[in-house]
């Protein structure tokens, strides 16, 4: 095999070089950029050490972005996984029309992100939106709620839109996982007289523990860094109410040309990612050790 190694390197080198230059180098580049200040008036980078960190950590913006990111990520991840799992359970039953339902439910996920976001902007529109129209018809609201325009509801509305867009992916993952749950164990539980709920909690959920944990971490990483939805819905507004790390980074870098500040927010995102990846690897190793031992 040694003879063929040059060919192997030739085969993998384009991928390795591209990923190295455009994915790995920028991780380091972001840390470097966070040490230099630039502005719209003066675009030449000036080394300022850690002073941007000091400035950001004491700003009210940073606190708001952290708070919004936590609510946004927790809300989307929790709902997306619960809804995704519920749909997987339902679509795993042998019911009429199952194949069609399985493909239709994936539609939100296939829809381009910007299209989904524009659609939800329209859904939430105070005058013309479908949601307010129902609320008015049911006399729950007099003239419609400006969901995306008021600070108290904007983040909640964005979470709803993101869950709608993202849950089908969790459904696909959990549907595949359900196929690997030991059928004999379920049979045994049925013979023992366990109802649906008991079977779910005693057999299905324990069997899928690792898959659920891995999918939760994966969706946490994706949601924390999800830019499109909030940018199109609100651009982080009103009054910062929906500003999360990705939108704040974009606004600083390309709206205000403050690359240093943007990169500093990026460094905090990378730290969060590193923690989550470490957790992911640990769970994965644990799962592999268990299945190797079994």
């Amino acid at each position: 095999m040694k003879r063929g190694r040059w060919l192997v390197f030739l085969f993998v080198s384009p991928a390795v070089i591209l990923v190295g230059v455009l994915m790995y180098y920028p991780m380091i580049g972001t840390v470097i950029d966070s040490l230099y200040a630039t502005s719209f008036i003066d675009p030449t980078p000036k080394f300022v050490g850690l002073s941007i960190y000091r400035e950001i950590l004491t700003s009210t913006d940073f606190g708001e972005v952290v708070r919004n990111s936590c609510i946004w990520t927790a809300g989307v991840v929790l709902l997306q996984n619960v809804v995704g799992f519920a749909f997987a359970l339902l679509l795993n039953q042998r019911l009429p029309g199952r194949a069609l339902m399985r493909s239709l439910v994936l539609l939100p996920w296939v829809l381009p992100g910007v299209v989904a976001a524009i659609l939800w902007r329209f859904m939430f529109d105070p005058q013309l939106g479908l949601i307010n129209s129902f609320l008015i018809r049911l006399h729950l609201s007099g003239q419609g709620i400006p969901w995306l325009a008021q600070t108290s509801t904007a983040l909640l509305a964005a979470i709803v839109a993101a869950v709608w867009k993202g849950f089908p992916f969790s459904t696909v993952v959990y549907l595949a996982g359900l196929q690997h749950v030991d059928a004999e164990q379920i049979e045994a539980a049925i013979i023992d007289g366990a109802g649906r709920l008991r079977r779910l909690f005693d057999v299905v959920l324990p069997a899928m523990r690792e898959l659920i944990a891995l999918n939760v971490i994966l969706t946490t990483i994706l949601t924390f860094n999800y830019f499109d939805m909030i940018w199109v819905l609100t651009r982080g507004g009103p009054e910062n109410a929906t500003n999360i790390f990705p939108t704040r980074i974009f606004e600083l870098a390309f709206g205000e040309f403050r690359f240093g500040e943007g990169a500093t927010y990026g460094v905090f995102s990378i730290l969060v990612l590193t923690l989550l990846l470490a957790l992911y690897a640990a769970i994965r190793r644990g799962a592999e050790r268990k299945s190797a031992g079994a």
Binding site: M1, G4, R5, F11, V12, A15, V16, V19, V21, L22, M23, P26, M27, I28, G29, T30, L90, L95, P96, G97, M101, S103, L104, V105, L107, V110, L111, P112, G113, V114, V115, I118, L119, W120, F122, M123, L128, L130, S133, F134, R137, V172, V173, A176, I221, N225, F227, D228, W231, F245, P246, I249, F250, A253, F254, F259, G266, I270, L273, Y280
Partner: protein, 277 residues
């Protein structure tokens, strides 16, 4: 449980299934409905779910010259990305699957790990690379960036697929005196078609909707892709919700159609990796 109540339970579940899927699809249905609504038909409160006189007028308006430019740009960038990403991905995945030594395994883990990297957090250095290479406002900037971000997932999907191909055929070819390149082209390539299709669909879905890079690298109107283009239509003078929804339908149609036709491959390809890694 008696047969009767069991059947009733089934019917209830089936109804629940239809009801919930309809609820999920309601926004999509509404998007189509509004795209068919004549401009003269006012938005009623409460909203009407289907226009009284559906028309294709909004679609005719949606084909404005800007839209045509953005559409062509999206097609060029997406097709180039799919072709390059899947080709490079297959070469790499094949090498990672069939050959094993320490350095190669390390490279593989590093490449696969990159699929988790957040583009939004590292966008500034990526933008600077494109700027110093003088690639801003070119197709090349988007294609190169899209290939880089889709390659790790492409390799991961293709590898999961190749791992299930029995190596006996390749071994037979080698015994017959075929070199590694011949074996790859004559044996591996035809056998991996379903995996290639699944991966191509995934890369296409990701690329067709990519927004962040397109928003950052492209400032000239003539080079814009559809996602950035339609975002710019929002609130623009003279563009009604009907036209906006018609444009949304037009942007979604290609990927939705391809997905519906090829989804069998796609879901299998996606979940092989997700469950068994």
């Amino acid at each position: 449980m008696t047969g009767g109540s069991r059947a009733a339970g089934r019917a209830g579940l089936a109804l629940l299934q239809f009801g919930l899927v309809l609820l999920v699809l309601l926004p999509v249905f509404w998007m189509v409905s509004v795209s068919l609504k004549p401009a003269t038909e006012p938005f009623a409160i409460p909203a009407r779910l289907w226009p009284d006189h559906p028309t294709l007028a909004n679609f005719l308006h949606a084909f404005r010259p800007e839209f045509r430019t953005y559409f062509v740009n999206s097609v060029v960038v997406s097709l180039a990305t799919v072709a390059i990403s899947v080709s490079l991905g297959l070469l790499a995945a094949y090498s990672f699957t069939r050959t094993q030594f320490r350095l190669l395994s390390v490279l593989m883990v590093l490449v696969l790990a990159a699929q988790m990297f957040p583009e939004s957090a590292i966008i500034i250095p990526i933008y600077k690379i494109m700027r110093s290479a003088d690639l801003l406002n070119t197709y090349a900037s988007l294609i190169i960036a899209y290939v880089a971000v889709t390659l790790p997932v492409a390799i991961w999907m293709l590898r999961a697929f190749l791992m299930r191909l029995p190596p006996t055929l390749e071994e037979a070819a080698e015994i017959d005196g075929a070199g590694p390149l011949r074996t790859f082209l004559d044996i591996v390539l035809p056998l991996s078609r379903p995996g290639v299709v699944a991966t191509a669909v995934f890369v296409l879905i990701v690329t067709w909707q990519e927004f962040l890079f397109a928003l950052s690298f492209i400032s000239s109107k003539s080079m814009r892709t559809l996602p950035v283009g339609i975002n710019d239509f929002i609130g623009q003078y003279g563009i009604s919700y009907g036209e906006l929804m018609a444009t949304s339908v037009l942007i979604s149609l290609p990927v939705v159609a391809i997905f519906m036709v090829l989804q069998r491959y796609f879901v299998a390809g996606l979940t092989v990796g997700a469950v068994k890694g």
